[in-house]
């Protein structure tokens, strides 16, 4: 394993709404660039009458919740033919802790999700996630944020690198840590964020016997994001964001066929705005590249974009359009990576104060670098949340996924429908 190299994407203003907004860390993150506190989307609107009261523990509040889900999956193994359907039973237990201070804050959460299947015991698994963050307020608009997450998860059967012959879902661990700083002065808001993420995939037993080695997928990623926004007006700001990354794989030749270590860089220039009560959003375009040390692997480069626009046709509806292009890792064949492009449209509708309807469609594209394979991924979903009171929440959802492969070495396509009804008890 190579020693970590120091990134010197320094001397840049910094930070991360674009790109890093999608980082896996669920702890408190800096406010979205376009959010100037003028608008509330349906999803983020506080509903004091239906929010759990929590349990006070000194200067902290604990908010535990337990949920059960009963679902149906018509294609459990994401197969093009001979699909296997099954009923799913999921128990979700989560406890959130948060400080109740006027300055600084500490947030922490522990989640345990247990998945059970009626007929396919091999798919049983339990996910555990622990995450937390702490914010140190320095000045009124300057602060430092540190946080981390550790999770033990199961990979979805339809994931690009998931072995189709695996008898069980591939288990993997994620470790993340980050530190970020934000400072505002005059018309400038500058931020700098450093992330380090490690992925450790566990070997998966194969259905016909044997084990599918997954260690060659393990890697550590370090990301440094610098960002600066210049406010043209109270409504609108120009932004520039530079992100550099270094990806180091646990294994290298001769244990693996390729040295998949790489460094990447992306430049984005854009604008964010919050216009009245009609629209807010952030759009940026630029360039991205990922250079692999092994010259046999293709190094992708090209157009980059990242953006999200929220349109508020009325206070009861939020229409969100988002788009993103980025480089993702894969170990499939001779592919170095794939460029993932995602376009997403979503509507959240507040039918009643305690009844929220959601629906969305998404189109994704995975263009594999160094492999003649292209995946078109379509997704659609619809659901409803019903907040009965502060303690009880009901839900129902449907989700459809369709993989439409193309190329000389296509992946097996699939259609999956999942239905879930849920109930959660919150304190």
């Amino acid at each position: 394993m190579k020693k970590a190299r120091l990134f010197v994407y320094a001397a840049m203003f910094a930070m991360a709404p674009l790109g890093m907004a999608h980082a896996q860390n669920t702890a408190e993150a800096p406010r979205w660039g376009a959010d100037r506190g003028r608008n509330e989307s349906v999803a983020e609107r506080p509903r004091p009458d239906y929010e759990p009261a929590g349990v006070r523990l000194g200067a902290f509040m604990a908010r535990p919740s337990v949920g059960v889900e009963v679902g149906y999956n018509d294609n459990l193994y994401y197969q093009p033919n001979n699909q296997t359907d099954d009923m799913t039973y999921t128990t979700r237990t989560r406890v959130d802790f948060g400080s109740d201070w006027s300055r600084h804050s500490i947030q922490m959460a522990v989640g345990l999700d247990d998945y059970r299947f009626r007929d396919n015991d091999s798919e049983h698994h339990t996910d555990l996630t622990v995450d937390g963050s702490a914010r140190l307020d320095i000045l009124r608009s300057s602060y430092i944020l540190v946080g981390g997450r550790q999770a033990r998860l199961a990979e979805a059967r339809g994931a690009p690198d998931s072995p189709t012959a695996a008898a069980k879902p591939v288990r993997y661990e994620v470790r993340e840590a980050f530190v970020a700083g934000v400072h505002e002065f005059n018309r400038i808001r500058a931020s700098l964020r450093l992330d380090r993420q490690g992925f450790n995939y566990k070997d998966a037993p194969l259905a016909g016997g044997g084990v599918a080695e997954q260690d060659d997928r393990d890697f550590v990623q370090t990301i440094l994001t610098a960002r600066a926004e210049y406010a043209l007006s109270p409504d609108t700001a120009l932004l520039v964001q530079v992100t550099g990354n270094e990806r180091e794989y646990e294994l290298a030749p001769p244990r693996t066929a390729f040295n998949r270590d790489s460094t990447g860089l992306s430049y984005l220039v854009g604008v964010n705005t919050d216009i009245g009560n009609l629209l807010r959003g952030e759009v940026a375009v630029g360039f991205l590249k990922q250079d692999y040390e092994d010259k046999r692997l293709d190094s992708p480069s090209g157009f980059a974009f990242d953006g999200r626009i929220e349109y508020f046709p009325s206070p009861l509806a939020t229409v969100t359009l988002s788009a993103r292009r980025r480089v993702e890792e894969t170990i499939t064949g001779t592919a170095s990576s794939y460029v993932a492009t995602t376009l997403d449209a979503r509507v959240d509708y507040e039918l009643r104060r305690n009844v929220i309807l959601t629906g969305g469609v998404s189109k994704g594209d995975r263009a594999f670098e160094g492999l003649d394979r292209d995946d078109d991924l379509w997704m659609a979903d619809a659901g409803a949340r019903i907040l009965l009171n502060r303690r009880v929440e009901l839900g129902a959802a449907w989700r459809f996924e369709k993989l439409d492969p193309s190329g000389a070495i296509p992946a097996p396509g699939y259609d999956v429908n999942r239905f879930v009804v849920s109930a959660a008890l919150r304190l």
């Binding site: 009325s314 206070p315 009861l316 507040e350 039918l351 009643r352 104060r353």
Partner: protein, 292 residues
């Protein structure tokens, strides 16, 4: 105790005659009805008609020798028995409506006019053979108080003064509270068992012993407004004003229609919102959620 003779002596008769001749006291003689020497008791002004029957003619006490004022509990009177100082004095109509007088005991007074009370005392004195030909005069010294409660600053019991109307009474009681209905008042007259509602668009006369209740003039607003609650009513208030007073609509408010329940109604009614939709005191306004 001295037992009075059934027939007054000649000396007593002479003294009584001289008293009548020389006395300048206005309450001297009952035998000269055309020049009643008794003091004029201030007569309450005509009472405004109840709000429910604005055209009805109010009962007006007559300002004659017998002015029609009906005595009641807590009235203070002075009884003069001519020539008999020991039978005269100041007396309070007690809670049973009686006067406690020397020698003749309790005399029912509540419900009687002064003239009727004079006759009752004279009759009693004669029956008891205390005086042969008693002459009695009754003066009203103090009216019984009135009572005021409800939406005034200092509710309580206050002494009646002549010419008093509801506005004077409210002023005496510290004025209206912010939630007071300043257009209507409930009054229970003495001797009545139920309240009567009067309009305050013109002054309403207060009578001794009245119980004045200033009702709330608030309106109530609930549902999809920022600050639901009870708010003071003011003349000319519209539903739009009321919503503004309550902090405006919430983002979920149905701004096209409103449900209103008037004070004396049991059912609310759906009304299409418009700029001049009036609010009445006691109205309950409900703003509903919208779906789209």
């Amino acid at each position: 105790m001295t037992r009075w003779s059934a027939r007054p002596s000649g000396l007593l008769a002479l003294a009584f005659t001289a008293f009548l001749a020389f006395s300048g006291h206005s309450s001297a003689v009952a035998q000269t009805p055309t020049s009643d020497p008794r003091p004029e008791v201030t007569t309450p002004a005509p009472t405004a008609a109840p709000a429910q029957t604005p055209s009805a003619t109010p009962a007006t006490p007559q300002s004659t020798r017998d002015d029609g004022y009906v005595l009641g509990v807590n009235d203070r009177v002075r009884v003069l028995v001519f020539g008999e100082a020991s039978l005269s004095g100041e007396f309070l109509v007690d809670s049973t409506g009686r006067l406690a007088m020397p020698f003749i005991g309790e005399i029912p007074a509540a419900g009687l006019t002064r003239r009727a009370l004079e006759e009752a005392i004279e009759k009693k004195l004669a029956q008891e053979e205390i005086l042969l030909d008693p002459r009695v005069s009754v003066d009203l010294l103090n009216f019984r108080p009135y009572y005021i409660l409800g939406e005034v600053t200092r509710p309580g019991e206050y002494p009646f003064t002549s010419g008093l109307n509801v506005f004077n009474a409210v002023a005496t009681a510290g004025g209206f509270t912010t939630l007071a209905n300043q257009t209507r008042v409930m009054i229970k007259r003495q001797g009545e068992t139920t309240e009567t509602e009067y309009s305050l668009l013109s002054p309403v006369t207060v009578e001794p012993g009245d119980t004045i209740r200033i009702i709330k003039g608030a309106f109530y607003i609930l549902g999809e407004v920022s600050r639901p609650g009870e708010y003071p009513f003011s003349e000319g208030l519209t539903v739009q004003n009321a919503v503004a007073t309550a902090g405006g609509f919430t983002y979920r408010a149905n701004q096209r229609q409103v449900f209103i329940k008037h004070r004396n109604e049991t059912q609310e009614r759906k009304v299409r919102m418009n700029a001049s939709l009036p609010v009445q005191p006691g109205d309950t306004i409900r703003i509903t959620e919208r779906f789209f």
